[in-house]
Protein backbone atom coordinates (compact mmCIF):
# COMPACT_ATOMS: atom_id res chain seq x y z
CA UNK A 1 0.00 0.00 0.00
CA UNK A 2 2.89 2.31 -0.61
CA UNK A 3 1.74 5.32 -2.45
CA UNK A 4 3.05 8.38 -4.19
CA UNK A 5 1.92 11.88 -4.72
CA UNK A 6 0.57 10.97 -8.16
CA UNK A 7 -1.49 8.12 -6.81
CA UNK A 8 -2.86 9.93 -3.82
CA UNK A 9 -4.08 12.78 -5.94
CA UNK A 10 -6.49 10.48 -7.73
CA UNK A 11 -9.69 9.37 -5.98
CA UNK A 12 -9.23 5.86 -4.74
CA UNK A 13 -10.46 3.51 -2.07
CA UNK A 14 -8.52 4.60 0.93
CA UNK A 15 -9.61 2.12 3.54
CA UNK A 16 -7.34 -0.84 4.03
CA UNK A 17 -8.13 -3.97 5.98
CA UNK A 18 -6.57 -3.85 9.45
CA UNK A 19 -3.28 -5.67 9.82
CA UNK A 20 -3.40 -8.21 12.60
CA UNK A 21 -1.37 -7.53 15.71
CA UNK A 22 1.35 -10.14 15.66
CA UNK A 23 3.50 -11.55 18.40
CA UNK A 24 6.96 -10.20 17.79
CA UNK A 25 9.29 -12.67 16.12
CA UNK A 26 11.77 -14.48 18.33
CA UNK A 27 14.56 -12.40 16.84
CA UNK A 28 13.02 -9.40 18.62
CA UNK A 29 11.93 -10.57 22.06
CA UNK A 30 13.35 -14.00 22.81
CA UNK A 31 16.19 -14.68 25.21
CA UNK A 32 18.54 -14.80 22.26
CA UNK A 33 17.46 -11.32 21.22
CA UNK A 34 17.86 -10.15 24.82
CA UNK A 35 21.36 -11.58 25.00
CA UNK A 36 22.26 -9.99 21.69
CA UNK A 37 21.05 -6.59 22.82
CA UNK A 38 22.34 -6.58 26.37
CA UNK A 39 25.39 -8.86 26.35
CA UNK A 40 26.79 -9.09 22.82
CA UNK A 41 25.66 -5.89 21.10
CA UNK A 42 29.15 -5.20 19.73
CA UNK A 43 32.54 -6.87 19.76
CA UNK A 44 33.51 -4.51 22.54
CA UNK A 45 30.49 -5.45 24.61
CA UNK A 46 31.10 -9.12 23.90
CA UNK A 47 34.68 -8.84 25.12
CA UNK A 48 33.52 -7.18 28.34
CA UNK A 49 30.84 -9.81 28.89
CA UNK A 50 33.25 -12.70 28.38
CA UNK A 51 35.96 -11.18 30.59
CA UNK A 52 33.52 -10.36 33.36
CA UNK A 53 31.84 -13.74 33.17
CA UNK A 54 35.22 -15.45 33.46
CA UNK A 55 36.25 -13.35 36.46
CA UNK A 56 32.86 -13.78 38.10
CA UNK A 57 32.96 -17.55 37.78
CA UNK A 58 36.54 -17.70 39.05
CA UNK A 59 35.64 -15.49 41.99
CA UNK A 60 32.45 -17.39 42.81
CA UNK A 61 34.27 -20.73 42.70
CA UNK A 62 36.99 -19.40 44.97
CA UNK A 63 34.38 -18.05 47.35
CA UNK A 64 32.47 -21.33 47.48
CA UNK A 65 35.72 -23.21 48.07
CA UNK A 66 36.68 -20.87 50.88
CA UNK A 67 33.33 -20.34 52.54
CA UNK A 68 31.83 -23.82 52.23
CA UNK A 69 33.89 -26.64 50.79
CA UNK A 70 37.12 -26.12 52.73
CA UNK A 71 35.48 -24.42 55.71
CA UNK A 72 35.62 -25.73 59.28
CA UNK A 73 32.46 -25.23 61.27
CA UNK A 74 33.50 -26.32 64.74
CA UNK A 75 36.61 -27.14 66.72
CA UNK A 76 37.11 -29.12 69.93
CA UNK A 77 37.47 -27.23 73.20
CA UNK A 78 39.87 -28.55 75.86
CA UNK A 79 39.34 -28.84 79.65
CA UNK A 80 40.37 -25.27 80.33
CA UNK A 81 37.74 -24.06 77.90
CA UNK A 82 40.33 -23.03 75.33
CA UNK A 83 39.44 -23.77 71.73
CA UNK A 84 41.84 -26.04 69.82
CA UNK A 85 42.21 -24.19 66.55
CA UNK A 86 45.05 -26.20 65.04
CA UNK A 87 42.77 -27.60 62.34
CA UNK A 88 41.80 -24.06 61.30
CA UNK A 89 45.42 -22.94 61.22
CA UNK A 90 46.31 -25.96 59.09
CA UNK A 91 44.00 -24.60 56.38
CA UNK A 92 46.37 -21.65 55.90
CA UNK A 93 43.60 -19.49 54.57
CA UNK A 94 42.34 -21.97 51.98
CA UNK A 95 39.09 -22.30 53.87
CA UNK A 96 37.08 -20.23 56.31
CA UNK A 97 37.21 -21.04 59.98
CA UNK A 98 33.55 -20.52 60.80
CA UNK A 99 34.24 -22.18 64.13
CA UNK A 100 35.16 -18.73 65.38
CA UNK A 101 31.59 -17.64 64.73
CA UNK A 102 29.91 -20.72 66.19
CA UNK A 103 32.07 -20.31 69.29
CA UNK A 104 31.82 -16.55 69.62
CA UNK A 105 28.53 -15.46 68.13
CA UNK A 106 26.91 -14.84 71.49
CA UNK A 107 29.84 -12.72 72.53
CA UNK A 108 29.67 -10.76 69.29
CA UNK A 109 25.92 -10.21 69.58
CA UNK A 110 25.63 -9.57 73.32
CA UNK A 111 29.12 -8.67 74.52
CA UNK A 112 29.81 -9.35 78.19
CA UNK A 113 26.16 -9.25 79.21
CA UNK A 114 25.55 -12.00 81.81
CA UNK A 115 25.26 -15.26 79.90
CA UNK A 116 22.02 -16.49 81.46
CA UNK A 117 20.38 -13.11 80.82
CA UNK A 118 21.08 -13.00 77.07
CA UNK A 119 17.38 -13.24 76.34
CA UNK A 120 17.04 -9.64 77.49
CA UNK A 121 19.27 -7.97 74.87
CA UNK A 122 17.86 -10.44 72.34
CA UNK A 123 14.36 -9.25 73.17
CA UNK A 124 15.60 -5.67 72.87
CA UNK A 125 17.01 -6.37 69.43
CA UNK A 126 13.66 -7.81 68.36
CA UNK A 127 11.86 -4.80 69.85
CA UNK A 128 14.10 -2.48 67.86
CA UNK A 129 13.41 -4.38 64.66
CA UNK A 130 9.69 -4.32 65.43
CA UNK A 131 9.90 -0.59 66.02
CA UNK A 132 11.59 -0.06 62.65
CA UNK A 133 8.99 -2.16 60.85
CA UNK A 134 6.08 -0.35 62.48
CA UNK A 135 7.65 3.04 61.68
CA UNK A 136 8.14 1.96 58.08
CA UNK A 137 4.46 1.30 57.48
CA UNK A 138 2.64 4.28 56.08
CA UNK A 139 -0.61 3.57 57.86
CA UNK A 140 1.15 4.16 61.17
CA UNK A 141 2.46 7.58 60.18
CA UNK A 142 0.50 9.41 62.80
CA UNK A 143 1.27 11.46 65.88
CA UNK A 144 0.67 8.36 68.03
CA UNK A 145 3.81 6.85 66.52
CA UNK A 146 5.85 9.17 68.74
CA UNK A 147 4.17 7.57 71.79
CA UNK A 148 5.01 4.11 70.48
CA UNK A 149 8.65 5.18 70.20
CA UNK A 150 8.73 6.58 73.74
CA UNK A 151 7.08 3.44 75.16
CA UNK A 152 9.39 1.06 73.27
CA UNK A 153 12.52 2.95 74.21
CA UNK A 154 11.51 3.01 77.88
CA UNK A 155 10.78 -0.72 77.74
CA UNK A 156 14.19 -1.34 76.20
CA UNK A 157 15.85 0.67 78.96
CA UNK A 158 14.02 -1.37 81.61
CA UNK A 159 14.98 -4.65 79.94
CA UNK A 160 18.63 -3.73 79.60
CA UNK A 161 19.11 -2.37 83.11
CA UNK A 162 16.71 -4.64 84.92
CA UNK A 163 16.56 -4.44 88.68
CA UNK A 164 12.81 -4.86 88.71
CA UNK A 165 10.35 -7.66 87.97
CA UNK A 166 12.88 -10.23 89.11
CA UNK A 167 15.38 -9.27 86.46
CA UNK A 168 18.79 -8.79 88.06
CA UNK A 169 20.39 -5.36 87.60
CA UNK A 170 23.00 -5.26 84.84
CA UNK A 171 25.33 -2.24 84.94
CA UNK A 172 25.84 -0.43 81.68
CA UNK A 173 29.54 -1.42 81.52
CA UNK A 174 28.48 -4.99 80.78
CA UNK A 175 26.19 -4.19 77.86
CA UNK A 176 27.59 -4.84 74.44
CA UNK A 177 27.29 -6.09 70.91
CA UNK A 178 24.42 -5.52 68.52
CA UNK A 179 22.17 -4.11 71.24
CA UNK A 180 24.61 -1.22 71.81
CA UNK A 181 24.76 -0.47 68.11
CA UNK A 182 20.96 -0.38 67.90
CA UNK A 183 20.71 1.71 71.07
CA UNK A 184 23.21 4.29 69.87
CA UNK A 185 21.58 4.59 66.45
CA UNK A 186 17.95 4.56 67.56
CA UNK A 187 18.23 6.74 70.65
CA UNK A 188 20.51 8.96 68.57
CA UNK A 189 17.88 9.54 65.93
CA UNK A 190 15.03 9.78 68.45
CA UNK A 191 16.65 12.59 70.42
CA UNK A 192 18.32 14.26 67.47
CA UNK A 193 15.04 14.57 65.61
CA UNK A 194 13.26 17.19 67.77
CA UNK A 195 16.51 19.12 68.11
CA UNK A 196 16.98 18.99 64.35
CA UNK A 197 13.47 20.31 63.73
CA UNK A 198 14.14 23.29 65.99
CA UNK A 199 17.51 23.98 64.37
CA UNK A 200 16.03 23.72 60.88
CA UNK A 201 13.26 26.13 61.78
CA UNK A 202 15.82 28.41 63.43
CA UNK A 203 17.96 28.44 60.33
CA UNK A 204 14.99 29.68 58.31
CA UNK A 205 14.00 32.17 60.96
CA UNK A 206 13.99 35.88 60.24
CA UNK A 207 15.60 36.60 63.60
CA UNK A 208 19.30 37.19 62.86
CA UNK A 209 20.69 36.08 66.22
CA UNK A 210 18.83 32.77 66.17
CA UNK A 211 19.63 32.18 62.53
CA UNK A 212 23.35 32.79 63.12
CA UNK A 213 23.36 30.49 66.12
CA UNK A 214 21.79 27.67 64.11
CA UNK A 215 24.11 28.16 61.13
CA UNK A 216 27.20 28.13 63.34
CA UNK A 217 26.02 24.95 65.06
CA UNK A 218 25.22 23.08 61.85
CA UNK A 219 28.31 24.12 59.92
CA UNK A 220 30.65 23.56 62.85
CA UNK A 221 29.42 20.02 63.44
CA UNK A 222 29.38 19.18 59.75
CA UNK A 223 32.86 20.57 59.28
CA UNK A 224 34.55 18.20 61.71
CA UNK A 225 34.70 14.41 61.75
CA UNK A 226 32.53 12.42 64.16
CA UNK A 227 35.70 11.05 65.73
CA UNK A 228 36.65 14.46 67.05
CA UNK A 229 33.23 14.78 68.67
CA UNK A 230 33.57 11.32 70.20
CA UNK A 231 37.02 12.22 71.54
CA UNK A 232 35.49 15.34 72.95
CA UNK A 233 32.84 13.24 74.64
CA UNK A 234 35.32 10.80 76.05
CA UNK A 235 38.16 13.07 77.23
CA UNK A 236 36.82 16.62 77.31
CA UNK A 237 33.29 16.16 78.56
CA UNK A 238 34.30 15.21 82.11
CA UNK A 239 36.05 18.58 82.36
CA UNK A 240 32.83 20.43 81.49
CA UNK A 241 30.83 19.12 84.39
CA UNK A 242 30.90 20.38 87.96
CA UNK A 243 32.98 18.36 90.38
CA UNK A 244 31.40 15.19 91.62
CA UNK A 245 28.99 14.95 88.71
CA UNK A 246 29.84 12.10 86.43
CA UNK A 247 28.14 10.66 83.39
CA UNK A 248 29.05 7.24 82.11
CA UNK A 249 30.92 6.82 78.86
CA UNK A 250 28.08 5.34 76.82
CA UNK A 251 25.82 8.26 77.64
CA UNK A 252 28.57 10.75 76.74
CA UNK A 253 29.07 9.04 73.39
CA UNK A 254 25.31 9.02 72.93
CA UNK A 255 25.19 12.78 73.50
CA UNK A 256 27.94 13.30 70.92
CA UNK A 257 26.06 11.14 68.42
CA UNK A 258 22.84 13.05 69.06
CA UNK A 259 24.54 16.41 68.51
CA UNK A 260 26.20 15.03 65.37
CA UNK A 261 23.03 13.51 63.93
CA UNK A 262 20.98 16.62 64.69
CA UNK A 263 23.17 18.80 62.47
CA UNK A 264 22.77 16.46 59.49
CA UNK A 265 19.07 15.87 60.11
CA UNK A 266 18.51 19.61 60.38
CA UNK A 267 19.87 20.08 56.87
CA UNK A 268 17.59 17.35 55.52
CA UNK A 269 14.56 18.89 57.22
CA UNK A 270 15.53 22.33 55.98
CA UNK A 271 15.48 20.85 52.47
CA UNK A 272 11.88 19.78 53.07
CA UNK A 273 10.92 23.20 54.40
CA UNK A 274 12.42 24.84 51.32
CA UNK A 275 10.72 22.42 48.96
CA UNK A 276 7.31 23.37 50.27
CA UNK A 277 5.59 25.87 48.01
CA UNK A 278 5.15 29.45 49.15
CA UNK A 279 1.43 29.00 48.76
CA UNK A 280 1.31 26.73 51.79
CA UNK A 281 2.93 29.39 53.97
CA UNK A 282 0.68 32.09 52.59
CA UNK A 283 -2.45 29.98 53.02
CA UNK A 284 -1.51 29.30 56.64
CA UNK A 285 -0.89 33.00 57.23
CA UNK A 286 -4.19 33.85 55.61
CA UNK A 287 -5.97 31.57 58.07
CA UNK A 288 -4.59 33.73 60.85
CA UNK A 289 -2.63 30.96 62.54
CA UNK A 290 0.17 31.81 64.93
CA UNK A 291 3.76 30.81 64.05
CA UNK A 292 3.70 27.64 66.12
CA UNK A 293 0.21 26.64 64.94
CA UNK A 294 1.22 27.26 61.37
CA UNK A 295 4.42 25.26 61.78
CA UNK A 296 2.90 22.41 63.73
CA UNK A 297 -0.30 21.88 61.77
CA UNK A 298 0.52 22.91 58.22
CA UNK A 299 4.22 23.18 57.47
CA UNK A 300 5.99 20.42 59.39
CA UNK A 301 3.63 17.54 58.58
CA UNK A 302 4.05 18.25 54.87
CA UNK A 303 7.76 19.07 54.95
CA UNK A 304 8.63 15.95 56.94
CA UNK A 305 6.65 13.73 54.62
CA UNK A 306 8.62 15.13 51.69
CA UNK A 307 11.96 14.23 53.24
CA UNK A 308 11.29 10.76 54.58
CA UNK A 309 13.54 9.05 52.02
CA UNK A 310 16.57 11.26 52.81
CA UNK A 311 15.75 10.89 56.51
CA UNK A 312 16.00 7.12 56.15
CA UNK A 313 19.29 7.57 54.31
CA UNK A 314 20.59 9.74 57.13
CA UNK A 315 19.57 7.04 59.55
CA UNK A 316 21.46 4.43 57.53
CA UNK A 317 24.53 6.67 57.67
CA UNK A 318 24.12 7.11 61.41
CA UNK A 319 23.66 3.37 61.89
CA UNK A 320 26.98 2.76 60.17
CA UNK A 321 28.67 5.67 61.92
CA UNK A 322 27.89 4.31 65.39
CA UNK A 323 30.68 1.81 64.68
CA UNK A 324 33.12 4.68 65.30
CA UNK A 325 32.62 4.30 69.05
CA UNK A 326 35.11 1.46 68.67
CA UNK A 327 37.82 4.10 68.71
CA UNK A 328 36.84 5.35 72.18
CA UNK A 329 36.42 1.80 73.46
CA UNK A 330 32.67 1.36 73.67
CA UNK A 331 31.52 -2.21 73.21
CA UNK A 332 29.32 -2.08 70.13
CA UNK A 333 28.89 -4.78 67.50
CA UNK A 334 32.13 -3.99 65.67
CA UNK A 335 34.17 -3.70 68.87
CA UNK A 336 32.79 -7.03 70.05
CA UNK A 337 33.81 -8.58 66.75
CA UNK A 338 37.28 -7.08 66.93
CA UNK A 339 37.68 -8.21 70.54
CA UNK A 340 36.55 -11.74 69.73
CA UNK A 341 39.72 -12.37 67.76
CA UNK A 342 42.07 -10.86 70.35
CA UNK A 343 42.11 -14.13 72.30
CA UNK A 344 45.31 -16.00 71.31
CA UNK A 345 43.42 -19.10 70.17
CA UNK A 346 41.41 -17.09 67.66
CA UNK A 347 44.04 -14.66 66.49
CA UNK A 348 44.27 -14.45 62.73
CA UNK A 349 40.61 -15.23 62.05
CA UNK A 350 39.59 -11.60 61.71
CA UNK A 351 38.36 -12.03 58.16
CA UNK A 352 35.66 -14.52 59.18
CA UNK A 353 34.50 -12.30 62.02
CA UNK A 354 34.44 -9.18 59.87
CA UNK A 355 32.46 -11.00 57.20
CA UNK A 356 29.94 -12.07 59.84
CA UNK A 357 29.67 -8.62 61.43
CA UNK A 358 29.61 -7.00 58.00
CA UNK A 359 26.69 -9.22 57.01
CA UNK A 360 24.71 -8.08 60.04
CA UNK A 361 25.31 -4.42 59.18
CA UNK A 362 24.54 -5.16 55.55
CA UNK A 363 21.20 -6.81 56.31
CA UNK A 364 20.03 -3.82 58.34
CA UNK A 365 21.31 -1.18 55.93
CA UNK A 366 20.25 -3.01 52.78
CA UNK A 367 16.70 -3.47 54.08
CA UNK A 368 16.49 0.21 54.98
CA UNK A 369 17.98 1.44 51.71
CA UNK A 370 15.63 -0.76 49.66
CA UNK A 371 12.75 0.57 51.72
CA UNK A 372 13.85 4.16 51.17
CA UNK A 373 14.21 3.63 47.41
CA UNK A 374 10.75 2.06 47.18
CA UNK A 375 9.28 4.85 49.23
CA UNK A 376 10.86 7.48 47.04
CA UNK A 377 9.31 5.96 43.94
CA UNK A 378 5.95 5.76 45.68
CA UNK A 379 6.03 9.33 46.98
CA UNK A 380 7.13 10.65 43.60
CA UNK A 381 4.24 8.91 41.92
CA UNK A 382 1.93 10.46 44.46
CA UNK A 383 3.33 13.90 43.76
CA UNK A 384 3.16 13.60 39.98
CA UNK A 385 -0.50 12.71 40.17
Amino acid sequence: MAETLAESAAPRPAAVGPAEARRPPMSVVGPVAWARASLFSSWWSTAITLALAYLLVRWAMGLVDWAFINAIWSVPVNDQGIAQTQACRALEGRGACWAVITEKYRFILFGTYPYDQHWRPLLCILLFIGLYIVSAMRRFWRKELALVWVATLVLIGVLMWGGILGMPYVPQERWGGLAITLILATFGIAFAFPLAVLVALGRRSRMPAIKTLCIVYVELIRGVPLISLLFMASVMFPLFLPEGMNIDKLLRAQVAIILFAAAYLAEVIRGGLQALSRGQYEAADALGLSYWQKTGFIILPQALRLVIPPLVNTFIGLFKDTSLVLIIGIFDLLTAGKTAVVEPAWQGFGVEVYVFVGLIYFIFCFAMSRYSQGLEVELNRHRVR
Binding site: A2, T4, L5, S8, P11, V16, P18, A19, E20, A21
Partner: protein, 262 residues
Protein backbone atom coordinates in the same frame (compact mmCIF):
# COMPACT_ATOMS: atom_id res chain seq x y z
CA UNK B 1 12.04 -8.50 -1.72
CA UNK B 2 8.36 -7.89 -1.40
CA UNK B 3 6.27 -7.00 -4.39
CA UNK B 4 4.92 -3.97 -2.57
CA UNK B 5 8.34 -2.43 -2.50
CA UNK B 6 8.85 -3.14 -6.16
CA UNK B 7 5.58 -1.51 -7.00
CA UNK B 8 6.40 1.41 -4.77
CA UNK B 9 9.76 1.83 -6.41
CA UNK B 10 8.12 1.52 -9.79
CA UNK B 11 5.46 4.09 -9.03
CA UNK B 12 8.09 6.39 -7.60
CA UNK B 13 10.00 6.07 -10.84
CA UNK B 14 6.87 7.10 -12.75
CA UNK B 15 6.89 10.49 -11.07
CA UNK B 16 10.49 11.06 -12.28
CA UNK B 17 11.80 12.12 -8.86
CA UNK B 18 12.87 9.31 -6.50
CA UNK B 19 10.93 9.32 -3.23
CA UNK B 20 12.56 11.28 -0.42
CA UNK B 21 11.38 8.71 2.09
CA UNK B 22 10.31 5.17 1.42
CA UNK B 23 9.01 2.91 4.18
CA UNK B 24 8.14 -0.63 3.29
CA UNK B 25 6.30 -3.01 5.61
CA UNK B 26 7.94 -1.56 8.67
CA UNK B 27 7.21 -3.41 11.90
CA UNK B 28 8.22 -2.53 15.40
CA UNK B 29 7.55 -3.92 18.84
CA UNK B 30 8.04 -2.51 22.33
CA UNK B 31 8.54 -5.74 24.22
CA UNK B 32 5.52 -7.76 23.11
CA UNK B 33 3.49 -4.71 22.08
CA UNK B 34 3.15 -4.35 18.33
CA UNK B 35 3.47 -0.60 17.80
CA UNK B 36 4.06 -0.38 14.06
CA UNK B 37 2.22 -2.88 11.86
CA UNK B 38 3.28 -3.22 8.25
CA UNK B 39 3.61 0.50 7.80
CA UNK B 40 4.37 1.42 4.20
CA UNK B 41 4.67 5.00 3.09
CA UNK B 42 6.36 6.83 0.30
CA UNK B 43 6.97 10.55 0.42
CA UNK B 44 8.06 12.35 -2.75
CA UNK B 45 10.51 15.20 -2.73
CA UNK B 46 8.73 18.44 -1.91
CA UNK B 47 5.69 16.63 -0.63
CA UNK B 48 4.07 17.70 2.61
CA UNK B 49 2.48 14.92 4.61
CA UNK B 50 0.47 15.41 7.79
CA UNK B 51 0.12 12.38 10.06
CA UNK B 52 -2.74 12.31 12.50
CA UNK B 53 -4.35 9.77 14.76
CA UNK B 54 -5.26 9.14 18.38
CA UNK B 55 -2.52 9.14 20.99
CA UNK B 56 -0.63 5.87 21.13
CA UNK B 57 -1.36 5.15 17.48
CA UNK B 58 2.33 5.01 16.57
CA UNK B 59 2.60 8.32 14.68
CA UNK B 60 5.56 9.59 16.68
CA UNK B 61 7.22 6.19 16.62
CA UNK B 62 6.91 6.12 12.85
CA UNK B 63 8.59 9.45 12.21
CA UNK B 64 11.22 8.77 14.88
CA UNK B 65 12.13 5.65 12.91
CA UNK B 66 12.97 7.84 9.93
CA UNK B 67 16.08 9.28 11.59
CA UNK B 68 16.55 6.19 13.72
CA UNK B 69 15.79 7.68 17.09
CA UNK B 70 13.85 4.43 17.26
CA UNK B 71 14.96 1.27 15.49
CA UNK B 72 12.50 -0.67 13.39
CA UNK B 73 12.76 -4.41 13.57
CA UNK B 74 11.29 -5.56 10.27
CA UNK B 75 10.92 -3.99 6.86
CA UNK B 76 13.00 -1.33 5.13
CA UNK B 77 13.33 2.41 5.39
CA UNK B 78 15.12 4.31 2.66
CA UNK B 79 15.79 8.01 3.15
CA UNK B 80 17.19 10.12 0.34
CA UNK B 81 18.38 6.99 -1.45
CA UNK B 82 20.17 5.60 1.63
CA UNK B 83 18.86 2.62 3.52
CA UNK B 84 18.73 2.78 7.31
CA UNK B 85 20.81 -0.10 8.55
CA UNK B 86 23.25 -0.69 11.35
CA UNK B 87 25.88 1.06 9.23
CA UNK B 88 26.69 4.16 11.21
CA UNK B 89 28.07 6.06 8.19
CA UNK B 90 24.68 5.88 6.51
CA UNK B 91 23.04 6.99 9.71
CA UNK B 92 25.28 10.06 10.03
CA UNK B 93 24.60 10.99 6.42
CA UNK B 94 20.85 10.59 6.88
CA UNK B 95 20.77 12.62 10.07
CA UNK B 96 22.57 15.45 8.28
CA UNK B 97 19.80 15.55 5.69
CA UNK B 98 16.85 15.15 8.05
CA UNK B 99 15.92 17.91 10.48
CA UNK B 100 13.65 17.26 13.42
CA UNK B 101 11.48 19.40 15.66
CA UNK B 102 10.22 17.91 18.92
CA UNK B 103 7.12 18.34 20.99
CA UNK B 104 9.15 19.50 24.00
CA UNK B 105 11.58 21.70 21.95
CA UNK B 106 14.67 19.99 23.44
CA UNK B 107 16.75 23.11 23.15
CA UNK B 108 20.11 22.88 24.92
CA UNK B 109 19.57 24.91 28.10
CA UNK B 110 23.25 25.61 28.71
CA UNK B 111 23.81 27.23 25.31
CA UNK B 112 22.51 30.53 24.00
CA UNK B 113 19.96 30.61 21.21
CA UNK B 114 22.72 31.43 18.75
CA UNK B 115 24.97 28.64 20.07
CA UNK B 116 22.06 26.21 19.81
CA UNK B 117 21.83 27.07 16.14
CA UNK B 118 25.55 27.09 15.31
CA UNK B 119 26.50 23.92 17.21
CA UNK B 120 25.71 21.40 14.50
CA UNK B 121 26.88 23.47 11.51
CA UNK B 122 30.25 23.95 13.24
CA UNK B 123 30.79 20.40 14.47
CA UNK B 124 28.96 18.41 11.80
CA UNK B 125 29.09 20.58 8.67
CA UNK B 126 32.56 21.91 9.59
CA UNK B 127 31.53 25.45 8.94
CA UNK B 128 33.65 28.35 10.21
CA UNK B 129 32.10 29.88 13.29
CA UNK B 130 31.57 33.24 11.64
CA UNK B 131 29.71 31.73 8.69
CA UNK B 132 27.67 29.52 10.99
CA UNK B 133 26.64 32.56 13.00
CA UNK B 134 25.65 34.48 9.90
CA UNK B 135 23.61 31.50 8.75
CA UNK B 136 21.97 31.17 12.16
CA UNK B 137 21.08 34.86 12.22
CA UNK B 138 19.55 34.49 8.78
CA UNK B 139 17.27 31.69 9.94
CA UNK B 140 16.52 33.36 13.26
CA UNK B 141 15.43 36.39 11.25
CA UNK B 142 13.25 34.15 9.12
CA UNK B 143 11.51 32.75 12.21
CA UNK B 144 11.29 36.36 13.41
CA UNK B 145 13.38 36.26 16.59
CA UNK B 146 16.84 37.62 15.68
CA UNK B 147 16.79 39.88 18.72
CA UNK B 148 16.77 36.87 21.10
CA UNK B 149 20.01 35.39 19.75
CA UNK B 150 22.12 36.09 22.85
CA UNK B 151 19.53 34.86 25.32
CA UNK B 152 19.28 31.40 26.87
CA UNK B 153 16.34 29.14 26.00
CA UNK B 154 14.96 29.34 29.54
CA UNK B 155 14.37 33.08 29.04
CA UNK B 156 12.07 32.60 26.04
CA UNK B 157 8.38 31.77 25.81
CA UNK B 158 7.31 28.35 24.56
CA UNK B 159 6.42 29.64 21.12
CA UNK B 160 9.76 31.40 20.78
CA UNK B 161 11.60 28.28 21.94
CA UNK B 162 9.86 26.17 19.33
CA UNK B 163 10.74 28.68 16.63
CA UNK B 164 14.37 28.54 17.76
CA UNK B 165 14.14 24.76 17.51
CA UNK B 166 12.92 25.09 13.93
CA UNK B 167 15.73 27.52 13.10
CA UNK B 168 18.23 25.17 14.73
CA UNK B 169 17.09 22.30 12.51
CA UNK B 170 17.10 24.52 9.40
CA UNK B 171 20.68 25.65 10.01
CA UNK B 172 21.77 22.17 8.94
CA UNK B 173 20.09 22.90 5.58
CA UNK B 174 18.18 19.63 5.66
CA UNK B 175 16.31 18.20 2.68
CA UNK B 176 13.58 16.77 4.87
CA UNK B 177 11.97 18.14 8.01
CA UNK B 178 10.17 16.01 10.60
CA UNK B 179 7.79 17.63 13.05
CA UNK B 180 6.70 15.60 16.06
CA UNK B 181 3.62 17.34 17.47
CA UNK B 182 5.35 20.71 17.44
CA UNK B 183 2.42 22.61 18.92
CA UNK B 184 1.07 20.18 21.52
CA UNK B 185 3.13 21.59 24.37
CA UNK B 186 2.22 25.20 23.60
CA UNK B 187 -0.33 27.58 25.04
CA UNK B 188 -3.10 28.38 22.52
CA UNK B 189 -1.92 31.94 21.85
CA UNK B 190 1.51 30.65 20.86
CA UNK B 191 0.37 27.92 18.50
CA UNK B 192 -0.28 30.37 15.69
CA UNK B 193 3.22 31.84 15.62
CA UNK B 194 4.70 28.36 15.29
CA UNK B 195 2.19 27.27 12.65
CA UNK B 196 2.88 30.46 10.67
CA UNK B 197 6.56 29.57 10.69
CA UNK B 198 5.76 26.09 9.44
CA UNK B 199 3.51 27.42 6.68
CA UNK B 200 6.29 29.74 5.62
CA UNK B 201 8.63 26.76 5.51
CA UNK B 202 6.14 24.74 3.48
CA UNK B 203 6.01 27.57 0.95
CA UNK B 204 9.75 27.14 0.31
CA UNK B 205 9.11 23.65 -1.07
CA UNK B 206 10.64 21.71 1.81
CA UNK B 207 9.78 18.01 2.14
CA UNK B 208 7.88 17.77 5.43
CA UNK B 209 6.32 15.09 7.56
CA UNK B 210 4.33 16.56 10.34
CA UNK B 211 2.55 14.79 13.17
CA UNK B 212 -0.11 17.20 14.32
CA UNK B 213 -3.78 17.58 15.15
CA UNK B 214 -3.99 21.08 13.71
CA UNK B 215 -6.64 20.53 11.03
CA UNK B 216 -6.42 24.08 9.75
CA UNK B 217 -2.71 23.66 9.13
CA UNK B 218 -3.31 20.30 7.42
CA UNK B 219 -5.89 21.79 5.08
CA UNK B 220 -3.68 24.76 4.30
CA UNK B 221 -0.40 23.05 3.47
CA UNK B 222 -0.74 19.26 3.33
CA UNK B 223 -0.56 17.44 0.01
CA UNK B 224 -1.64 14.33 1.82
CA UNK B 225 -3.05 13.39 5.21
CA UNK B 226 -2.27 10.00 6.72
CA UNK B 227 -4.47 8.64 9.47
CA UNK B 228 -2.89 6.11 11.81
CA UNK B 229 -4.53 4.01 14.46
CA UNK B 230 -3.18 1.16 16.56
CA UNK B 231 0.15 1.14 14.78
CA UNK B 232 -1.10 0.98 11.21
CA UNK B 233 -1.94 3.38 8.45
CA UNK B 234 -5.71 3.20 8.17
CA UNK B 235 -6.50 5.82 5.58
CA UNK B 236 -4.63 8.31 3.53
CA UNK B 237 -5.54 10.87 0.90
CA UNK B 238 -5.90 14.59 0.28
CA UNK B 239 -7.04 16.66 3.24
CA UNK B 240 -10.39 16.96 1.56
CA UNK B 241 -10.83 13.20 1.16
CA UNK B 242 -9.74 12.39 4.67
CA UNK B 243 -11.57 15.10 6.55
CA UNK B 244 -14.78 15.34 4.53
CA UNK B 245 -15.22 11.79 3.30
CA UNK B 246 -13.85 9.36 5.89
CA UNK B 247 -14.17 5.75 4.80
CA UNK B 248 -13.60 3.88 8.03
CA UNK B 249 -15.40 4.03 11.37
CA UNK B 250 -12.11 4.51 13.13
CA UNK B 251 -11.40 7.73 11.25
CA UNK B 252 -14.99 8.91 11.71
CA UNK B 253 -14.76 8.39 15.45
CA UNK B 254 -11.42 10.16 15.57
CA UNK B 255 -12.67 13.14 13.56
CA UNK B 256 -15.76 13.53 15.70
CA UNK B 257 -13.59 13.55 18.83
CA UNK B 258 -11.26 16.13 17.34
CA UNK B 259 -14.14 18.36 16.25
CA UNK B 260 -15.81 18.12 19.61
CA UNK B 261 -12.54 19.15 21.16
CA UNK B 262 -12.47 22.36 19.13
Amino acid sequence: MSTTLDSAVASAARTDAPPAILMDKVNKWYGAMHVLRDVSLSVAEGERVVVCGPSGSGKSTMIRCINRLEQHQEGRIIVDGMELTDDLRNLDAIRREVGMVFQSFNLFPHLTVLENCTLAPIWVRRMPKKDAEELAMEYLTRVKIPEQARKFPGQLSGGQQQRVAIARALCMKPKIMLFDEPTSALDPEMIKEVLDTMVMLADTGMTMICVTHEMGFARQVADRVVFMDRGEIVESGTPDQVFNDPKTDRLKTFLSQILRGH
